[in-house]
């Protein structure tokens, strides 16, 4: 099946494909038949009112939550039954809405923790200073310098992450995710709680890291979706409503109804 798909499809490679995802928690259906295909290099938004199932969908797409039924393919691999850390090692990174950073560690240590999957040496290698230990360390230092520059965190290198301003923590969260040089970046409500200035900085950061990557964003802030995303999916009550360009999506009658709550009884 795999080889056939390769031989007949001249279309751009698929980064994330979800087919008919259903998720039930006991008697509650959180997601009911969501399908989407995100091609490589796309910046894709997922929007919807509170409780619509965005976060559940997001957790399923990046392998943390397992769906009740349906298939998820990330970078050509079926991740439906893979452990979350194993999914992360296929080139997928994510940020969290809350608990976004390692709060007790310095900015630089945060980046080191983010590099975990790329380290090859063990405790013995560390003791004897093996060649793989030195190579790992050198590669880490180089990557950390790039990421510090990219995220504008050079001056905060040795500060404890927990005391940084909120917007700065968010940039660090992206920095941690970038340490593994992921092919796909999932951002969970990155602009929630940010002020206008912080949001603008954040949009600029994501624009800078987007080339060569696929990015999926769950977001309430429509400005972020409009600025960054080529397409967006609207989820309402666990159902997919529409997938389209942001300006069209935001004019969709059901989206307006869902957001303004016109039908509330």
């Amino acid at each position: 099946m795999h080889s056939r798909a390769l031989s007949v499809s001249p279309a751009p490679a698929v980064a994330v494909r979800a087919t008919d995802i259903v998720k039930r928690y006991g008697g509650v259906t959180a997601l009911n038949g969501v399908s989407l295909t995100v091609t490589e290099g796309e910046v894709f938004g997922i929007i919807g009112p509170n409780g619509a199932g965005k976060s559940t969908l997001f957790d399923i797409l990046c392998g943390i939550t397992k769906p009740t039924s349906g298939a998820i393919e990330v970078l050509g691999r079926d991740v439906g039954h893979m452990a979350p850390h194993a999914v992360a090692r296929t080139g997928v990174a994510r940020t969290f809405q809350r608990t976004a950073v390692f709060a007790d560690a310095t900015v630089f240590e945060n980046l080191r923790y983010g590099r975990h999957a790329s380290f090859r040496h063990g405790v013995l290698g560390r003791i004897v200073g093996s060649s793989s230990c030195r190579a790992d360390e050198q590669a880490f230092q180089e990557r950390a310098r790039e990421v510090l520059a990219l995220t504008g965190l050079d001056g905060d290198r040795d500060r404890r992450a927990g005391v940084l301003a909120y917007g700065v923590q968010r940039r660090l969260a992206v920095g941690v995710a970038l340490m593994a040089d992921p092919k796909i970046l999932f951002l969970d409500e990155p602009a929630a709680g940010m002020n206008g200035r912080e949001t603008a900085d954040f949009i600029a950061l994501i624009r800078a890291v987007a080339p060569g990557r696929t990015i999926l964003i769950v977001e309430h802030d429509m400005a972020v979706i409009r600025e960054l995303c080529g397409r967006a999916l609207v989820v309402v009550d666990g159902r997919p409503v529409v997938i389209d360009e942001p300006q069209h999506v935001l004019r969709h009658p059901e989206v307006i109804t869902a957001y303004l709550g016109a039908d509330d009884e």
Partner: protein, 345 residues
């Protein structure tokens, strides 16, 4: 402050105030300062061992080093992955009974008994960890505490193997090669050397990717998972690393106690070790060693009644949790910073 909280004790042990810098935030010591500290430690050990003539004090110092190994083991769990391992005395007891059963029942030499106990402790940690480390926080603590109770009941009732409530005693030659552990000075040098070796090993662990993974799991397990850390595996490996250290501590206490009874499985042993960790600071690798020294030397010089000792240490722990949640060394760090600030002013 930390949403993925583990337990009240751990939260309290973490330096959470913004004003006081977390010990974990300071960059790790350089290799040079580690060698200097190592030299100082060796000099101090040699000076103490040769200069102090009171055999009781020297033996107590040896015992303190042995118990400090146990405290280090506890801190792999507490300072390492943020769990309070109340049942860690199981491995302490495996070490002690390893020596007891190996020497008294099987007639093995001390070294071989200890080696067997270490292997058994790792295997036990693998089995127990696979079952109990799915739990976190208070749930893990309580279940591991329960396991220590099971171990104590087993030790009390398996009389043919453990000697029952009376325990095992009458050891022949407690020696490591030609070094007789019943000689106070030799006992101290052996336990102190092993303690230094253990600390050096833990320094290497902390600076390795595995150490970084443990720290990331302690601070934010969900984020750690999302950067590719196999959280379950890291926790199990930490447990399996902590077990032989506890067993070594338990085994090296036998030359001091000269008897192994079911009491080695008492959770009171773990609590003593935990107090040492909290006294010295869970985020400092030698914190548990500092705590062990304070914990055993001070009561001796104050000639405290055991009950009064509990009262004083309990009060001390409360005071430390309130004023220096990172351990006593945090006071020194804060003092140094204040002096420096005043110097600039």
């Amino acid at each position: 402050m930390q949403p993925s909280s583990t337990s009240a004790a751990v939260l309290a042990a973490e330096p959470a105030r913004d004003g006081v810098p977390a010990p974990a935030m300071r960059p790790g010591p350089t290799s040079l300062s580690i060698w200097l500290l190592l030299g100082a430690a060796i000099a101090a050990i040699a000076a103490f061992g040769f200069a102090v003539s009171d055999p009781f004090i020297v033996t107590l110092a040896g015992y303190t080093c042995a118990f400090a190994l146990f405290a280090l083991s506890i801190n792999i769990m507490l300072g390492g992955i943020g769990e309070v391992p109340l049942g860690q005395c199981v491995f302490f007891g495996i070490g002690a009974y390893g020596v007891g059963i190996g020497m008294v029942k099987l007639g093995l030499p001390f070294e071989l008994s200890v080696a067997a106990a270490l292997v058994i402790s790792v295997a036990a940690a693998a089995a127990l960890g696979a079952l109990t480390l799915r739990l976190t926080g208070a749930y893990f603590s309580i279940v591991s505490w329960g396991l220590s109770g099971v171990a104590m009941v087993a030790a009390t009732n398996l009389e043919s193997l453990t000697g029952g409530p009376l325990g095992l005693f009458g050891f022949s030659a407690l020696s490591v090669g030609p070094v007789l552990l019943t000689d106070p000075q030799s006992y101290f040098f052996v336990t102190a050397s092993l303690l230094v070796a253990a600390v050096l090993f833990l320094v290497a662990v902390r600076r390795s990717p595995f150490g970084a993974a443990m720290e990331s799991v302690r601070q934010n397990r969900h984020l750690a998972q999302s950067v590719g850390v196999d959280v379950t595996r890291v926790r199990l490996k930490a447990f399996m690393l902590s077990a032989p250290l506890a067993a070594l501590g338990g085994a090296l206490c036998v030359p001091y106690t000269q008897i192994v009874t079911p009491e080695v499985f008492s959770v009171a042993n773990t609590v003593d070790g935990l107090l040492m960790v909290l006294l010295g600071g869970s985020q400092l690798i030698v914190g548990p060693v500092i705590g062990a020294v304070i914990f055993s030397i001070i009561p001796h010089f104050l000639e405290l009644d055991p009950n009064v000792r509990i009262l004083i240490f309990s009060s001390a722990i409360i005071a430390i949790m309130m004023f220096a949640p990172g351990g006593l060394h945090q006071l020194a760090v804060a003092l140094r910073q204040r002096l420096r600030r005043d110097g600039h002013a």
